[in-house]
């Protein structure tokens, strides 16, 4: 059957509001009589707080309220997995973003100025900014020690958690190897730079006890629960209405302004607004985890991998956030889409006094991909094999086993992505570099895998609810956060596809904790699979209900009538009932046209000691990039000229959406490879703005060709898999592998900057002469 919408290029349902400036983001809400909030942050990354005195700030005209921790002793800690973060710091700061006091004032300027009148007395403690140092037993504790789950020999106050992978016989694997390659690979702190800064507006209704907020989040119901528990409220007393979201990339998985605005709306009894500055959010909000990978791989001369040992150390900074999950995902994806019979790995997540790290596009798998694709390239070079052929030789097929022990039984397109990429690029193994007029060109390859959904036995699910309105439109209630990736367009597309109606008849209600049910998080590249499936189930159910009601009204059966273009048509006659009429009849008869779809797949918790399980993730997305770069020998500057990106998405739902993710992910990878690093020295960020932390502009982007592989038959609707995070994974390693092919110099970190390339070329020339 041909699809009407699925697989096509579909205009976004929210695009018109966005091009006219009508879309409302968090900061665009203005309530009557609103107060503005500002927060005093830590004076030192690690300090014992002796006192915080807000009394002078309270006397400033226009200040309505100023509080510190001792004014709200009843407020509880928050955190996504571990509740280890304080809303207002009580005894000590652990990083520069810790909040010490909050001011509410008539204007933002007054609130900001009032912060200068708050007096803080503190005693500095030693700062630990190196995760390896943090893990040493002798280092000072950043958090209360937790001996029970700490490896002996490591620091119980700074080790958050340990994870393991064990499979096969590592020793035998290494003894079968002809060559053993060992490398240490490191990634830095990276900032999301979602263009919309964190902001929110809240009001509190004393009568009902409900606090209503307009604030962006990737997961409405999770943030709702965290706010409620922190402020000792019932969940239903916290209402979050989802505004338009100006990008997220993992940044908005964490709490930012949420608890603060709710707290101050309750305490002041007036509506409040808070907007973080770019500098404040760069210092305060989550980062991409810096991760150290120590890889040791055994391989036969013919390129067969026999054994792989991995050690993964992640710096989660001052608080856990999602750090335990990020770092173990880096471990669980540590060998990429390649067959490895004997495997042993361990990961450690360490606290430091750096800005805390959490989710960022790829969630550990991005760092992992850079590391394994560097390692794979080194092995190919060592064996004198073509890097693309070497990858193909080891790439997954049906029946392959992931690092977690999951046997892949469907939708394994990784080889196809490698082959397609080579074909579209015009890849020639003997032409991976050339030099002309002081410019050196290089070509690099990288592939990647990503497990979609939370998996690992987490109760991950999504619910979509549909109703037929009196106008005969289909109203969709979904709490899925559209952070720009286009999930709500995908949901509408699927509903229109199933009901065979014009897309214009599908309308969206705003995501709202009080009118839409849990859709899970917009993360883990899961929404197309989860909310897409939920939408499909709901639409199928609704279609059944429409048929049911129509058959009662027409006293006829399917296929004598059809649902078409928003009407029920009795075949071969002029008789038609509009959906609006049918909805009215159905409601009058006490059985409204309404349906709910819930997608709640099973996954397994991997075994704690070995990390092995049967069904750890619902689907895996693969992606291969081939990048061509050009280096200016005299400046060391690298330009990315061209990237061929070939993701395997199972099945395309919105073609323009998949391309958009691929292009955006690729350019984010250019930034990761060549530009981006949040420099945090001794806990202090040195580049907290966009003129010192650079991201790619239109002048930095390469030509990007996205060719999509549809291996089909994946867990998502119509066989789809996700694309959001996998779009980024191979970009940076492909570029850095291209730098290697151009110069013969291998870099084991990101970003690779012009001074480093220049020096490397010079050193090499010196050595060769």
């Amino acid at each position: 059957m041909r699809n009407r919408y699925v697989g096509k290029k579909i205009d976004r349902v929210d695009a018109r509001d966005k091009v006219t400036g009508k879309a409302l983001y968090s900061a665009d809400f203005y309530l009557e009589d609103m107060l503005y909030l500002k927060v005093l942050r830590a004076p030192h990354p690690h300090a014992r707080i002796k006192s915080v005195d807000v009394s002078k700030a309270r006397t400033i005209p226009g200040v309505a309220m100023a509080i510190s921790a001792k004014d709200v002793p009843w407020v509880k800690n928050f955190g996504m997995i571990f509740k280890d973060q304080e809303v207002l710091v009580r005894e000590k700061t652990r990083y520069m973003g810790d909040a010490l006091a909050i001011v509410a004032a008539e204007t933002e300027t007054i609130a900001r100025q009032a912060l200068d009148y708050i007096e803080v007395d503190y005693e500095p403690l030693p700062v630990i900014s190196d995760p390896l140092k943090a893990l040493e037993k002798e280092s000072p504790y950043i958090h209360e020690p937790r001996e029970e789950n700490c490896d002996p020999g490591l620091n119980p106050g700074n080790l958050l958690c340990t994870h393991r992978l064990e499979r096969g016989d590592l020793e035998r694997g290494f003894s079968e190897a002809d060559v053993i390659v060992e490398n240490e690979i490191r990634t830095p702190h990276i900032e999301h730079v979602a263009l919309q800064p964190e902001a929110g507006v809240a009001k509190y209704d004393k009568e009902t006890g409900v606090c209503t907020m307009w604030v962006a989040t990737q997961w409405l119901h999770d943030i709702q629960a965290d706010v409620a528990q922190a402020l000792d409220m019932k969940t239903e007393q916290v209402q979050i209405i989802q505004p338009a979201i100006g990008g997220a990339f993992g940044k908005r998985e964490d709490v930012s302004v949420h608890i603060i605005i709710a707290l101050m709306a309750i305490l002041t009894g007036r509506p409040v607004k808070m907007e973080m500055t770019r500098e404040e959010l760069m210092i305060t909000q989550n980062k991409r985890h810096p991760i150290i990978f120590r890889h040791k791989t055994g391989v036969k001369k013919d390129g067969t991998i026999t054994a792989w040992k991995a050690e993964v150390i992640g710096d989660t900074g001052a608080y856990a956030s999602t750090g335990s999950a990020v770092v173990h995902q880096a471990l669980y994806m540590c060998t990429g889409p390649y067959n490895v019979p004997n495997l042993s790995g361990v990961s450690y997540t360490a606290y430091t006094n750096n800005t805390y790290a959490g989710a960022m596009r790829g969630f550990g798998a991005t760092q992992a991909a850079f590391a394994y694709e560097t390692q794979m390239d080194c092995i190919a070079a060592e064996l004198g094999l073509d890097p693309l052929e070497f990858r193909k030789k080891n790439a997954y097929e049906l029946g392959s086993m992931t690092p977690n022990g999951q046997i892949l039984t469907t939708s394994v397109g990784v080889k196809d992505t490698l082959e397609k990429a080579a074909e579209v690029f015009g890849y020639k193994p003997d032409q991976l570099s050339k030099e002309e007029n002081g410019k050196i060109r290089g070509i690099g390859v990288a592939s990647s895998m990503f497990g979609c959904g939370y998996g690992e036995g987490f109760p991950d699910h999504s619910i979509v609810d549909l109703e037929v309105t009196d106008e005969g439109k289909i109203l969709v209630h979904s709490a899925a956060a559209d952070v720009g990736q286009g999930i709500l367009t995908v949901v509408c597309q699927i509903v229109a596809e199933v009901l065979d109606i014009p897309l214009e008849l599908v309308e969206l209600a705003p995501g709202d904790t009080h009118t839409s049910k849990n859709a899970g998080s917009t993360s883990a590249t899961r929404q197309t699979i989860f909310s897409g499936n939920a939408a499909k189930l709901a639409a199928e159910e609704l279609l059944g209900k429409i048929y049911h009601r129509a058959s009662l009204e027409l006293v006829k059966h399917h296929p004598q009538f059809l649902v078409q273009e928003g009407e029920i048509v009795l075949q071969g006659t002029e008789t038609r009932i509009s959906l609006a009429e049918l909805a009215k009849i159905a409601r009058e008869k006490g059985d409204p046209l309404h349906a709910e779809g819930c997608y709640f797949p099973r996954t397994d918790v991997p075994d704690e000691a070995t990390g092995q399980g049967n069904l750890v993730y619902v689907a895996y997305t693969f992606n291969t990039h081939i990048a061509e770069i050009e280096i200016d020998k005299y400046t060391g500057e690298t330009r990315v000229l061209r990237v061929v990106a070939v993701p395997d998405v199972g099945r395309v739902i919105n073609r323009i959406g998949v391309e958009g993710q691929s292009e955006g992910g690729t350019v984010m990878g250019v930034g990761m490879a060549l530009m981006e690093k949040q420099v945090i020295e001794e806990g202090i960020t040195k580049n907290a703005d966009l003129s010192t932390y650079l991201i790619p502009t239109s002048l930095d982007m390469p030509e990007i060709i996205t060719e999509i592989v549809e291996s089909g038959d994946a867990a998502g609707p119509y066989g789809a898999k996700g694309i959001g995070e996998p779009a980024l994974l191979p970009a940076a390693p492909a570029i850095i592998n291209a730098i290697y092919n151009a110069t013969g110099v291998r870099f084991f970190h990101t970003p690779v900057t012009p001074d480093q390339v220049f020096k490397a070329i010079k050193d090499r020339e010196k050595k060769n002469s």
Partner: protein, 160 residues
């Protein structure tokens, strides 16, 4: 703080407001006139989300003080379409998939509008240069450039 009178035209309409001298044009537009289509991404002239035209020239409205706009003419995203009729650039942004989160969109549309006004037949490099002061983290710029290209002179209505 001393109040200053600002009389200016925004999207063809006359406004007169008393503001504190240190008020930014961005805040005057958003907080006083309710023109929230203009966004703040950095407040430091680094991101371009606050781009508007002042007397026909693009400025970062976060770096312009409201009194500097006295007697000037401002164009914001709200002034790009006429009633329900979208500007061809807006149409192209929708059709080409140039919008994702949309936070950069108003600023980029204003930059693109300025570019085409002054150079109706820009090539790819001109377009890249023309929007280089506007960051976009979502799209990788590819579809934004395609959208602008599709409405350059002689290519209107061009479909692939």
């Amino acid at each position: 703080m001393a109040k200053v009178k600002v009389e200016f035209k925004v999207n063809g309409r006359e406004y007169s407001r008393e503001v504190e001298a240190a008020t930014r044009l961005l805040d005057l537009l958003r907080n006083e006139l309710g023109l929230i289509g203009t966004k703040e991404g950095c407040g430091k002239g680094e991101c371009g989300t606050c781009t508007v035209l002042m007397d026909g020239k693009p400025v970062n409205s976060c770096l312009v003080l409201a009194p500097q706009a006295n007697g000037r003419e401002i164009l914001t995203i709200e002034g790009l379409s006429s009633g329900d009729r979208l500007h061809p650039l807006q149409d192209a942004f929708i059709k080409k998939g140039a919008v994702q989160c949309g936070y950069c969109t108003p600023g980029i549309l204003i930059s693109a509008y300025y570019l085409l006004k002054n150079n109706p037949r820009p090539n790819r490099d001109d377009i890249k240069e023309g929007i280089s002061g506007n960051l976009c983290r979502c799209t990788g710029y590819v579809k934004i450039i395609e959208a602008i290209e599709s409405v350059t002179e002689g290519r209107e209505g061009h479909e692939e």
